[in-house]
Amino acid sequence: MHDRGPTPRGSAGGGFVSSSGTGTDEQVTVSDEAVAALVAAAEEGVDFERLQVAREGDGDEAVYHFETPAVTREELTESEFRDACSNNPEYVDNWWFFEGLERAPANRAFLRWLESGDAEDWDVPTRYDALREGIARSWGQVAVTVMLGAGGRRYELRHEDDVDTPLPELERREDPLAARELVKFDDRGRYRPLKTAPTLPTGWAFVGLDGRDCTHTLDLVYPATVANWHLEREGELDVNHWRETMERQTGIYGVIETWDRGEGHEHVEWVAGACCDDSQCLKRREWQYDDGTDLEAPGGEGEFPCREPCSLVVSAARKWTRLESEQPRTYEFELTPSEKDQIEAIIDAVADGRVDEIREADIYEGANRYRTRFLRAKRFDAGDLGGVPTDPEGEQTPTGEH
């Protein structure tokens, strides 16, 4: 789930099988559209990743200059210039892909990052050799592989747990919009209200996407993550911390700001620890208590940032604001040491989402169902732990609202 840097397919990922097999001999061909665009761009001059193109003069007088580290051609007619483009397809294709096609700056930056990470130190032949092998990177739980196919770069997206699964065993998709339904439920069939929860379902593959469809698909799997990642890289991410976010809330959420009572921010540590840990959300939490007060809870290691408490945190915080307005009381129960351990084990199992993993007959697990039913049979009386009423004087009714 974390950045492992660009990995040639078949190395770190281990036997990454794709529609085109491991590695291709795909030769790059340059489209007429790309050549025409470069002819037009020559007027202003091009200098991109050691492709240098220029034009002097106009009309019949025009002469072109075409240069890469391997060839230098000067005083070219337009026709000769077009030939030079066709004879050096990788440099021209590379320029066309990153500079010629219209892309949002965030998407362009993302597509470059996919190939070379932050190093940006590949020359064009190295880049294209790597593309022939296929380059895989993770974005959240999605493994994105870029490779060369007919028409240039092609992208394949699948769950990172599926990188070794033969393609025919996966549900093939080509339309980015299919991602909406695909990511709605986890592998257990449960609704995913948080798209960046680490519960992305497995079993699918988007294949043969172009660059635009690749970023579009990712924006439906993990909305706005590329945009915010790019803003962060540009030093322009607009982080809204806890306090300002809660002060902004109105309506039924207006109550949350009363939870901040100027008595520290431990409650926000608990919220962040509960909701924003990498085990719960793949975004890297960048918001803090306020501008001058960082939280100690880990923000996570994710590639893309979280810029403010999300709607799930806000909803939960509303509930906690109400619950936390109650005063603690002293209750007296009798428990054996093992029963106390067991209650702790049950809480841990629920909090860590392990309940379904505990085997039916594993009575060594405190959170085993039979163990828990035994505890309830022994220690509950009319629904009360130890037969102790929750609210003996009827002063306070625990809120049961949703």
Binding site: L177, Y191, P193, K195, P223, A224, T250, C310, S311
Partner: protein, 302 residues
């Protein structure tokens, strides 16, 4: 010039179907190609309203709230979360159902945002309610011998909520198509629970003005109207209640023609939609007529 439509809806943390009508209408609008990009943003899902604008590339964006009435969400929450500079509650100069649009700048992205009134109060919404009645009865000419109940949530906190319901009920009544038309509410009088008390007609179509099917439209209202004792066992359409036939339509927002209202909202705000209104109407035509969705190439974004 690049033209983008953003549909803003409530969404849900709990109900997976809440976003479905929004996506369906976005797909219909995308298919007729009136906008370069069509996207959806949500209050309870992602992309959140607060971050949806940064996911579109256009400098000019038409934002249509897929909400039933003017009020808290359309006047307070959405403009705040979109960071519309200079927004004020009276910016639409609305009487409660007459909001059109206002053009403001989003503070974070700098985009020009044409912020439209909610889909639910547009006059074209009246047609969607009638279409919903046609869909549920399977009769494109339904009306004679039928009563129509337009059902709203109703909330005493927001008088505009009931105004929107009354507005459409009045318009349908004026058409003279149905024998009787009533506006009914979940939370206030006249209550939907007593639906059969309000009609003489033997057949009554009940159309709830909700954007998506969920707890209210699929559990609450069917049980309150005695269509069923237990929503989980379902109900008949029509269902027999107190000797009358109740044709319960479910959320009006799931009706395909709803896409038309969204396009009209954007058009009214200055979007150049060409013949998209006619084409959406064509694609979403009539119950029982399957000429609706075709496989036309989709060219723009969600």
């Amino acid at each position: 010039m690049s033209q983008t439509l953003v549909i803003v809806a409530h969404g849900s943390h709990l109900n997976p179907e809440s976003s479905t009508p929004t996506y369906d209408h976005a797909d219909t609008i995308r298919a007729v190609g009136a906008f370069d990009e069509v996207r959806a943003g949500f209050w309870k899902e992602e992309p959140h309203v607060r971050e949806v604008l940064r996911t579109v590339t256009a400098d000019e964006v038409f934002v249509v709230p897929l909400f039933i009435s003017e009020g808290y969400f359309t006047e307070e929450v959405i403009p705040r979360e979109l960071r519309l500079e200079g927004w004020a509650e009276d910016a639409w100069e609305s009487d409660g159902t007459s909001a059109t649009s206002v053009t403001l700048t989003a503070a974070d992205t700098g985009q020009r945002v044409h912020y439209c009134g909610p889909a639910g109060t547009h006059e074209a919404m009246t047609d969607v309610i009638v279409r919903r009645a046609e869909s549920v009865t399977g009769d494109p000419d339904v009306g004679e011998g039928f009563g129509l109940a337009v059902v709203g949530h109703g909330t005493k906190r927001n008088e505009n909520s009931a105004k929107a319901i009354q507005y459409h009920a009045d318009r349908i009544r004026e058409q003279g198509r149905f024998d009787e038309v009533r506006d009914l509410y979940m939370d206030e009088d006249p209550e939907v629970d007593d639906v059969t008390d309000f009609f003489e007609s033997d057949d009554v179509v009940v159309v709830p003005l909700f954007v998506a099917d969920g707890y209210h439209t699929q559990e609450d209202i069917p049980e309150d109207m005695d269509l069923t004792d237990d929503y989980r066992t379902g109900w008949d359409t029509p269902a027999e209640v107190d000797g009358k036939h109740i044709w319960y339509a479910g959320a009006v927002g799931t009706e395909a023609l709803m896409a038309d209202v969204i396009v009209e909202r954007a058009r009214d705000a200055g979007a150049d939609v060409g013949d998209a209104v006619e084409r959406v109407r064509e694609r979403t035509r009539v119950a029982g007529d399957d000429s609706g969705v075709d496989s036309e190439v989709q060219t723009a974004d969600d």
